[in-house]
C-alpha cells in the first residue's frame, strides 16, 4: 500500500516538472502559438494563460483533496469497522455547483468578446486564399498579383484573408499570427490576422486533406509598407530574360509540357491548374514548403513530383536528365 501512495505522489509533479524543464530547454520552434507576433495571436495566448491559470487552480484543488483522501483514509489492516456513512450534504453540493458557474463566467466573457472582436472590418486589406491539394494560391484583388505558397503582407495592417477551396476542406493556420480557419468548397470564410513585426512566419494546412496533407505549408512574409509596395510592383511587372540556348530549350519545353497548368508572369504561359510560377526564384521554398528552392531540388521535383510530395497532382512527366536541366535553367530566369 505504501508503494501505491508514493506512486501517486511522485508521478504527477514529476511529469509537470519534466515538461517545464524540457520546454525551456528546447525552444519554441518556428510556428508556435506561444510566441505570438500579432494582436490576434496575443489575445489568443492571453486567453490560453487565463484559462490555464484557472484550470490549474481547479486541478490543484481536486488533486490535493484526492491525494489527502487516499492517503489519510486508506484502510488500516485489522480495522474492520464500517466508516460513517454520509449520503450527501446540500450546502456542500450547492457550493460546488455555484463555484464552477462563477469561474465559467470569467471564461465566457472573453470568449464572447473575442468571438465578435476577431471579425474582419470592411476596411481591412483583402487577400484571397484558395486551397488546393496540396498548395496555396494567394490573389491580391486590388493589385492583380497572384502567387503561390508564399504571401507578402505589410506590417501593422489588418488583413482579411478571404478563404475558399478548389477541392476539399483545408485549414489556414499561421500559429504566430493567430488561430486557423477552414477553407471550405462552396463557402467563403474570412480570417482576420495582423502582424506587428516584420519577418517570415510559417503556416501549414491544419485540416486533413489527403496524402499530401503534411506537405501543404506556406510562408507569410511581413514587410514594411515600402518593401511590400516594392514587392507588389515587381510582381506586377515581371521580366523574363531568356538568353542561353539551354534556357531557350527549357522555355520551349515549358510551353509544350507545363504551360497548360502553370502561369508565368512576363510570358504568354497562363495555365490555371497548378501554382502560378511568376518570380519563382524569389521564393525560398518549392512544392509548398517541402524543399528549399535550389536548382538541385527543382531538378529533384521535376524528376518525380509525387515521389517528393505524396499525392501531388502534378504527374511524373518522365523527363530526361537533359530536359530537366533545360527546364531548371529556364525556371532560374524567373526572378
Amino acid at each position: 500500500m505504501r508503494w501505491t501512495q508514493r506512486g501517486f505522489r511522485v508521478t504527477l509533479p514529476l511529469l509537470a516538472l519534466s515538461a517545464a524543464a524540457l520546454l525551456s530547454g528546447c525552444g519554441l520552434g518556428k510556428q508556435s502559438t506561444l510566441s505570438p507576433a500579432g494582436p490576434v495571436a496575443s489575445a489568443q495566448l492571453g486567453m490560453f494563460w487565463e484559462s490555464l491559470a484557472i484550470m490549474t487552480g481547479i486541478f490543484i484543488v481536486v488533486a490535493a483533496v484526492f491525494l489527502y483522501s487516499i492517503i489519510r483514509f486508506r484502510a488500516r489492516p485489522g480495522d474492520n469497522e464500517l466508516p460513517k456513512q454520509v449520503h450527501g450534504n446540500t450546502t456542500l453540493e450547492i457550493v460546488w455547483t455555484i463555484i464552477p458557474i462563477i469561474l465559467l463566467v470569467f471564461l465566457a466573457i472573453p470568449t464572447v468578446h473575442y468571438s465578435f472582436a476577431f471579425q474582419a472590418p470592411a476596411t481591412a486589406m483583402k487577400v484571397d486564399v484558395v486551397g488546393h491539394q496540396y498548395w496555396w494560391e494567394f490573389d491580391y484583388p486590388g493589385s492583380k498579383v497572384t502567387t503561390a505558397n508564399i504571401v507578402h503582407i505589410p506590417v501593422n495592417t489588418k488583413i482579411n484573408f478571404v478563404l475558399t477551396s478548389a477541392d476539399v476542406i483545408h485549414s489556414f493556420w499561421v500559429p504566430e499570427l493567430g488561430g486557423k480557419t477552414d477553407l471550405i468548397p462552396g463557402r467563403v470564410n474570412h480570417l482576420l490576422l495582423e502582424a506587428s513585426k516584420t519577418g517570415t512566419f510559417y503556416g501549414q494546412c491544419a485540416q486533413l486533406c489527403g496524402p499530401g496533407h503534411a506537405y501543404m505549408k506556406f510562408e507569410v512574409v511581413v514587410q514594411t509598407p515600402a518593401a511590400y509596395q516594392a514587392w507588389v510592383s515587381a510582381m506586377q511587372h515581371p521580366t523574363v530574360s531568356v538568353t542561353t540556348s539551354e534556357q531557350k530549350a527549357g522555355m520551349a519545353l515549358f510551353k509544350q509540357d507545363c504551360s497548360t497548368c502553370h502561369t508565368v508572369g512576363g510570358t504568354s504561359f497562363n495555365g490555371k491548374v497548378g501554382p502560378n510560377l511568376t518570380e519563382l526564384m524569389t521564393r525560398p521554398t518549392i512544392a509548398a514548403g517541402t524543399l528549399t528552392n535550389t536548382p538541385a531540388n527543382l531538378a529533384k521535383w521535376l524528376h518525380n513530383p509525387p515521389g517528393v510530395k505524396p499525392g501531388a497532382l502534378m504527374p511524373n512527366l518522365n523527363l530526361s536528365q537533359t530536359q530537366i536541366q533545360s527546364l531548371v535553367a529556364f525556371l532560374e530566369t524567373l526572378k
Binding site: S32, M47, S69, L82, P83, R187, A206, H213, P310
Partner: protein
C-alpha cells in the same frame, strides 16, 4: 419463508440444445453476449493498438518514412474508427449486457434474440470494416470522414465504402441495443427497484441508451446519403453539383458529440459502483449523480459545433455553442466532487479495480479542464486540429473510458467468468498503463501548442516537435508493456479453475448476491428490493439473503437460436454486394436476410423452462 434453491437444473425438452462452440453462437443469454462483446472489443483493441504503435514509430523522427503518407492516413483513420466503434462502445456495452440485468433483478433483457443480433452485427460489421484491407484500401479520410475528402472524387479506393456500410451495419446493432436496454431497464426491474434505487451503473446505462436512440439516426442518415453519393452518383456532399460540405459535418457532430458521452457515461457509472465498494462508504449525493448524468446527456445534444469552431460559422453561433459547451463542466464537476466526498472519511482498499477507478479522477479532470479551454471558441482556433486536441480527447477517452473499462474488468471479472484476476499482476498492469498513458499523451499538449497539426504523416525538423514526439513514442511502448501484462493476466487466469466466491469485494448491488458466474437464469426467485444498494442493505440490516418476490417455480427461458447470427451474416454479405457494385450479390443476400427475419418472426417458439432440482433445495 421458503429458502431459495441455490442451483436449478435446466429442462430443455421444448427447445433445441446446442453444445460447445455452437452454444455460444446460438446463445441469447445476456451474460454470454456480454462476454463476447468484451472479448471481441479486446480483439479489435489489439488492431487499434498496433495501428497506434506504427503511428508513433512513424512520428519518432522528422522526415521519417516507416510507412507511406497514404498508409499513415489509413492507420490513423482505422485507429480512430476502431477505438471508438469497435473497442470503447462494445466493451462498455458488454459490461452493460453482463451486469445491468443482474443489477435490476431481471432474468434477461427484454428482447434476447435481438440482443444476439446486435452482438453479431457489431462483430461481423467490424470484421467487414477490416476486410477492406484485403480489397486494397482501408478508410483514409479520418474517423469523422469529412466530406468532400471522403467523396469518390477524392477517395477513389473502396475504403470509404467499407466505412459507410460497415458503420451502418454495426450502427444498426447499436441502435437495437439502445432500444433493448431502454425497455429492459424501464420495464423489467424487480419489485421494489424504483428508478431512484437503481445502482448508478444502471442509471448510466439508461441515459447512455437514450443518447444512442437519439444520436445514431443522424449518423445513419449521413452514412446513407454518402452511400448514395458514392454508389449511385447522388450529390449530397458534392459541392460542384449543389451539395454541401458542411452538411456532413453538422450531421456527423450532432451524432459525434453525444457519442463522446455514450462512451464516457458508462465509465462514470463504473466509477460510481467501484469507489463506494472499496471505500466502504455509501455513494455521496446519489440523486445529484443521477441528475448530473441526465443533464450532461441533455446538454450533449446542443454543443456539436464546438467541433466546428474553425468552420467560420460566425460569432453568434460560436459564442452560443461555446457557452453551452462550458456548461457541461458544471454537472461533470458535481460528479467529481461527489466521488471525492465518497472517498473522504472512507476506508480505502487499493485493489486493482480501485486503482483504475481512482486514476480515473485526476486523468478525467485533466481531460475535462483542457476541454473547457477548448470551449473558448476564439482561443480554440489555435488548438483546433492540433495535437492539443489529440491530448485532450485521449485524456477523456483513454484516461476516462479505458481506465473505467479496465476498472470494470478487474471488478466484474469474477462475476462474469467465475475467476479472480491476479491482483499482483493487476498492479503491475495498472502502474505501467498509468505511467505509459501520461508519458504518451501529456507531451501532446505541448507539441500542439508548438503548432503541430494532427494527422500529418511526417514533419520537418526545427519546430521543436521532435523531443515531444519521442517522449510520446516511448510512452506508447510502456503502455504496450502494461497491456501485455493484462493479456498475460487474462491467459493465466483463464487457465485457473473457476473458484471465485459469490461476493469477493463485499459488494453493494444485486449481482453480488448471485454465484460467480451467475446461473443461466440469474435469479432462482425474483428478488424483492427494499432500498438502494439492495444487497448491501440485506447484508447489514437483514440476514444477508435477498427476500424473494415470487414463489419458487419453473422459470421460463428464451430458446437459443442461430437466426441472429444468420441474419447478421447475410446483411454483411449484402454489404459486400454494395461495396463491389454487384446488384446480384447485394440483392440476393438482402432477400435472404428478409426471408430469415420472416422465418424467425413467424416460427412458433415457446422457449423452455428450468425447474428447481429436487436435490438442489440447499439449506
Amino acid at each position: 419463508m421458503a429458502a431459495i434453491p441455490e442451483r436449478l437444473v435446466a429442462v430443455h425438452s421444448e427447445s433445441r440444445t446446442y453444445t460447445g462452440i455452437w452454444s455460444w453462437l446460438a446463445t441469447v443469454d445476456h451474460k454470454r453476449i456480454g462476454i463476447m462483446y468484451i472479448l471481441a472489443g479486446l480483439f479489435f483493441m489489439a488492431f487499434g493498438g498496433a495501428e497506434a504503435l506504427i503511428i508513433r514509430l512513424q512520428l519518432w523522427a522528422p522526415n521519417s518514412h516507416v510507412v507511406s503518407a497514404e498508409t499513415f492516413n489509413q492507420l490513423f483513420t482505422m485507429h480512430g474508427v476502431t477505438m471508438i466503434f469497435l473497442v470503447a462502445m462494445p466493451i462498455l456495452i458488454g459490461f452493460i449486457n453482463a451486469i445491468v440485468p443482474l443489477q435490476i433483478g431481471a432474468r434477461d433483457v427484454a428482447f434476447p434474440r435481438m440482443n444476439a443480433l446486435s452482438l453479431w452485427l457489431f462483430v461481423l460489421g467490424g470484421l467487414f470494416l477490416y476486410s477492406s484491407f484485403l480489397f486494397g484500401s482501408m478508410p483514409d479520410a479520418g474517423w469523422f470522414n469529412n466530406a468532400p475528402l471522403s467523396e469518390l472524387a477524392f477517395s477513389k479506393g473502396l475504403g470509404v465504402d467499407f466505412y459507410d456500410i460497415g458503420l451502418q451495419i454495426s450502427g444498426f446493432g447499436t441502435l437495437m441495443t439502445g432500444i433493448n436496454f431502454l425497455v429492459t431497464i424501464l420495464n423489467m426491474r424487480a419489485p421494489g427497484m424504483r428508478l431512484l434505487r437503481m445502482p448508478l451503473f444502471t442509471w448510466s446505462a439508461l441515459i447512455t441508451m437514450l443518447l444512442i436512440l437519439f444520436a445514431f439516426p443522424p449518423i445513419t442518415v449521413n452514412l446513407i446519403l454518402q452511400m448514395f453519393d458514392r454508389l449511385f452518383g447522388a450529390n449530397f456532399f458534392v459541392v460542384g453539383n449543389g451539395g454541401s460540405a458542411l452538411l456532413w459535418q453538422n450531421l456527423f457532430w450532432i451524432f459525434g458529440h453525444p457519442e463522446v458521452y455514450i462512451v464516457i457515461l458508462p465509465a462514470f457509472g463504473i466509477i460510481s459502483e467501484i469507489i463506494p465498494v472499496f471505500a466502504k462508504k455509501v455513494l455521496f449525493g446519489y440523486e445529484s449523480m443521477a441528475m448530473a448524468l441526465s443533464v450532461i446527456a441533455f446538454l450533449s445534444f446542443m454543443v456539436w459545433t464546438h467541433h466546428m469552431f474553425a468552420d467560420g460559422l460566425g460569432p453568434v453561433v460560436n459564442s452560443l455553442f461555446a457557452i453551452t459547451s462550458m456548461l457541461i463542466a458544471v454537472p461533470t464537476g458535481i460528479k467529481i466532487f461527489n466521488w471525492l466526498a465518497t472517498l473522504w472519511g472512507g476506508k480505502i482498499h487499493f485493489t486493482s479495480a480501485m486503482l483504475y477507478a481512482l486514476s480515473f479522477i485526476p486523468l478525467f479532470v485533466i481531460g475535462g479542464v483542457s476541454g473547457i479551454m477548448l470551449a473558448m471558441a476564439p482561443a480554440d482556433l489555435q488548438y483546433n486540429d492540433s495535437y492539443f486536441v489529440v491530448a485532450h480527447f485521449h485524456y477523456v477517452l483513454f484516461g476516462g473510458t479505458l481506465m473505467g473499462a479496465l476498472a470494470a474488468l478487474y471488478y466484474w471479472f469474477p462475476k462474469m467468468w467465475g475467476r479472480m484476476l491476479n491482483e499482483k499482476l493487476g498492479k503491475w498492469n495498472f502502474w505501467l498503463v498509468f505511467i505509459g498513458f501520461n508519458v504518451t499523451f501529456f507531451p501532446m499538449h505541448i507539441s500542439g501548442l508548438l503548432g503541430m497539426p494532427r494527422r500529418i504523416s511526417t514533419y520537418a525538423p526545427g519546430n521543436g516537435w521532435t523531443i515531444w514526439n519521442q517522449i510520446s513514442t516511448i510512452g506508447a511502448f510502456i503502455l504496450l508493456a502494461g497491456m501485455l501484462i493484462l493479456l498475460y493476466n487474462l491467459i493465466q487466469t483463464f487457465l485457473h479453475p473457476a473458484d471465485a466466491p459469490a461476493d469477493p469485494w463485499d459488494g453493494r448491488a444485486l449481482e453480488w448476491s448471485l454465484t460467480s458466474p451467475a446461473p443461466e437464469y440469474n435469479f432462482a426467485q425474483t428478488p424483492l428490493v427494499r432500498g438502494r444498494d439492495a444487497y448491501w442493505l440485506e447484508k447489514r440490516e437483514g440476514d444477508g439473503k435477498l427476500q424473494p418476490a415470487e414463489p419458487a417455480g419453473p422459470i421460463h427461458m428464451p430458446s437459443p437460436s442461430l437466426a441472429p447470427l444468420g441474419i447478421a451474416l447475410t446483411i454483411v454479405l449484402a454489404g459486400y454486394g454494395a461495396v463491389l457494385h454487384s446488384t446480384i450479390i447485394g440483392g440476393l443476400f438482402l432477400l435472404l436476410t428478409f426471408v430469415q427475419i420472416g422465418r424467425a418472426l413467424l416460427a412458433e417458439d415457446h422457449g423452455f423452462h428450468v425447474t428447481p432440482h429436487v436435490g438442489g433445495e440447499a439449506q
